[in-house]
Amino acid sequence: MSLLQIVNGRVVDPVQGLDGEVRDVWIRDGKIIPPPAVPSVRPDRVLDASGLVVMAGGVDMHCHIAGPKVNVARKMRPEEKRRAEPVRRTPRTRSGTTGSVPSTFATGYKYTGLGYTTAFDAAIPPLAARHAHEELHDTPIIDKGFFVLMGNNHYVMQQIRSGDRARLRHYVAWLLGAAKGYAVKAVNPGGVEEWKAGHGNVTGLDDPVEHFGVTPRQIIVELAQAASDLRLPHPLHIHCNNLGLPGNWKTTLATMEALEGRRAHLTHVQFHSYGGGPDDGGSFASRVAPLVDVVNAHENLTVDVGQVVFGDTTSMTGDGPLGYFLHQVTGRKWFSADTENEAGCGIVPIEYKDHSFIHAMQWAIGLEWFLLARDPWRIVLSTDHPNGGTFLSYPQIIHLLMEPDYRREVLQSVHPRVMKRSVLKDLDRAYSLSEIAIITRAAPARILGLRNKGHLGPGADADITIYTPDPDRTKMFSLPRIVLKDGEVIVEEGQIRNAPTGRTFHVAPAYDEKLVSEIQEWFEEHYTIQFANYAVDEHYLPRGECVASLGSK
């Protein structure tokens, strides 16, 4: 029973209302405990945090770090790997490669080195769940989990067509359990299957998904309803239709409205906030304002931004037609995959250039979202790693949010037309440390329904990041002084001291067992693998932790 005391730190914990007050943090067995009532209690170890900023570990609620698409991206970009600084082997850690898609072990080390201790992969087809868990097994230190792709699942669409809400709910519950996944994800709902069938992408919420006889609107509403009925800790996680296309803000607005008060998370919303005509790049414009108004006014909606960062990266998506679109636009190499009955995939290298009008607008649109959103508890910092940029660029984004002068300086250096087309130049808001703590840990933990993450109150997991204050925010957030995971010092000044195995979060909502034989019957008629080989068992999660449904103890 070891007792650790972190003394004299300036604690920034918005959940407890602490904004830099000097407090001690007490830790026993990996959990934060209240300060002992008896002053004579002596800790086994004291960490002096005088003058340092103490926060909960960062939580990345939307990134791509495991599964076949990530692995293909690694293999697809040897030219990037060749030049990226490798992670060298030490007596405690393994070697690895970096670049925009780091290898598994390097992913764990780099996230922790950045002070992030939890990360969720946002797009795993259930068929690839086993592979994803195996990669997460090899992603050390951080706690993790993944969202299960369902927005183009054939069985899902069949139940929606027949109007069988109960059966859909049972299937969603069964599928989450079979994949050992954490949340329901819809990627370009309906559009991926429409494109896979050769009919082109859908263009709006009411386009029919041929053969399945449903519309994107129905898929969104019914999956949001199922997630809500199952009381999942995280609501439906939506990658809206028409990602990246000029004029797509209307689809995004329609999606928000279609939810009619149901809880949902709209991801990488930056990529969905564009005005302009489809065939006219010159008319490309920001439509953050009307969308952020809706989010500001509707408590049921949360978003993460999907900020674009200038530089070379790799786009990877379950949105097959988007991958094709990016390949057409960039002329770069392209990988496309069809996961039978379930999903699609597209991978294309992409370089965001500050002198490109479109790219600079995307950069500005992301920042507009951060600066116009009124409630920091409902907006989360993300780059949709590695789509908008890698997670290693988070400190740079924090810098842009906290320092308006720095932001203006960068704005001056990008394509000049951005000054005219974006309101960014007029936004003087500066994020406080406390607000940064919200959008990087407290809010994502809350939105994910992880009660033990994102804060430093009693009962929280002792995932703690200690920063040396520095007006150069990039520097401050790039290299935390100390990172603790489950109460253990893992990183000191960028050096990994230990690399334990993190948790894998999953859910196991109840379903009607009697329906399984029907699912099996359908499955065996349509899938290329045996039903018995589909579900992932607990052995694949060396430190699995089942998160209970909302409202249960």
Partner: protein, 278 residues
């Protein structure tokens, strides 16, 4: 005086020796050169473990003697000076070099001059695969400079090349100029199959046809279309330049005519293949 490295312990396990370039060797004492690190398989070793280092008369910056076909990365990344390999050179010789001259008196391995930017490589013997090519995944191979080969070269000569000149006196293997964006490849002999596949721009010039011999004709992909037969003036300028570098192709400069084909039509079709006919 020039630096002399004589290979005394040839190893079947490859030695990776990026340090063997004029940039790194210049100004070093013999003892310092001996201590330079190389990779030997998965182990670290020193130059002295394999080479005898000394000085000798001559105006060459550095001479490496012996069969170095298992020594990789000789002259890779070099930016200046002269480096001579008196023997064979292993893979990646002169890869990514951006200046200076590399001379290989024997044969050179695969990826010689891969992704080079400037400078000149002269190979007296044969070259391997992907001469001046792009590394896997890269968008561009050779970006500038000159590669001269007196013998033959194997597959994918100038793969994804963007600029520069490659001249091979003998034959080349399959896919010469595959996916090239620009630049010039001159071949004294005949190519293997699928010359210029996926090329966008640039010129591939073949001199090796024998009139009347059906076995010795250039065979092109159906996605190259015949334009005309003419005498492009730039070819004789190149041939003269090659002579000044002491590489002569088996053709009298300024004579004969060329069949011109444009392609690859599955790409832009703006590249050309010229086939010399006496």
């Amino acid at each position: 005086m020039s630096i002399l490295l004589r290979l005394r312990n040839a190893s079947p396990i490859p030695i990776e020796a990026e340090c063997l370039s004029p940039d790194r060797l210049e100004g070093l004492a013999v003892k310092e050169i001996e201590r330079l690190e190389v990779d030997h398989g998965n182990e670290r070793a020193r130059v002295a473990d394999f080479f005898e280092v000394g000085l000798r008369d001559g105006n060459e910056a550095a001479v490496i003697e012996g069969d170095c076909s298992r020594v990789k990365h000789i002259g890779a990344g070099m930016t200046r000076g002269l480096l001579v390999v008196d023997g064979n050179a292993g893979m990646h010789a002169g890869a990514e070099m951006s200046g200076g001259r590399l001379e290989v008196r024997g044969n050179a391995g695969d990826w010689t001059g891969a992704e080079m930017r400037a400078g000149r490589i002269h190979i007296r013997g044969d070259a391997g695969h992907l001469l001046g090519g792009a590394y896997r995944g890269s968008r561009t191979g050779m970006r500038g400079g000159v590669i001269l080969v007196e013998g033959s070269a194997r597959n994918e000569v100038g793969c994804s090349m963007r600029r520069g000149l490659i001249a091979v006196r003998g034959q080349v293997g399959d896919f010469p100029g595959v996916s090239m964006h620009a630049g010039n490849i001159l071949v004294g002999g005949l190519p293997g199959v699928r010359a210029g596949a996926g090329m966008r721009r640039g010129s591939l010039i073949f001199f090796g046809e024998t009139p009347g011999d059906s076995q010795r004709q250039v065979e092109l992909l159906p996605t190259f279309s015949y334009d005309c037969t003419y005498r492009p003036p730039f070819v004789s300028l190149y041939l003269k330049k090659l002579q000044s570098w002491k590489l002569s192709l088996p053709v009298p400069a300024g004579e004969g005519r060329y069949r011109r084909y444009s392609g690859d039509l599955v790409e832009s079709g703006k590249g050309e293949i010229l086939v010399w006919q006496a």
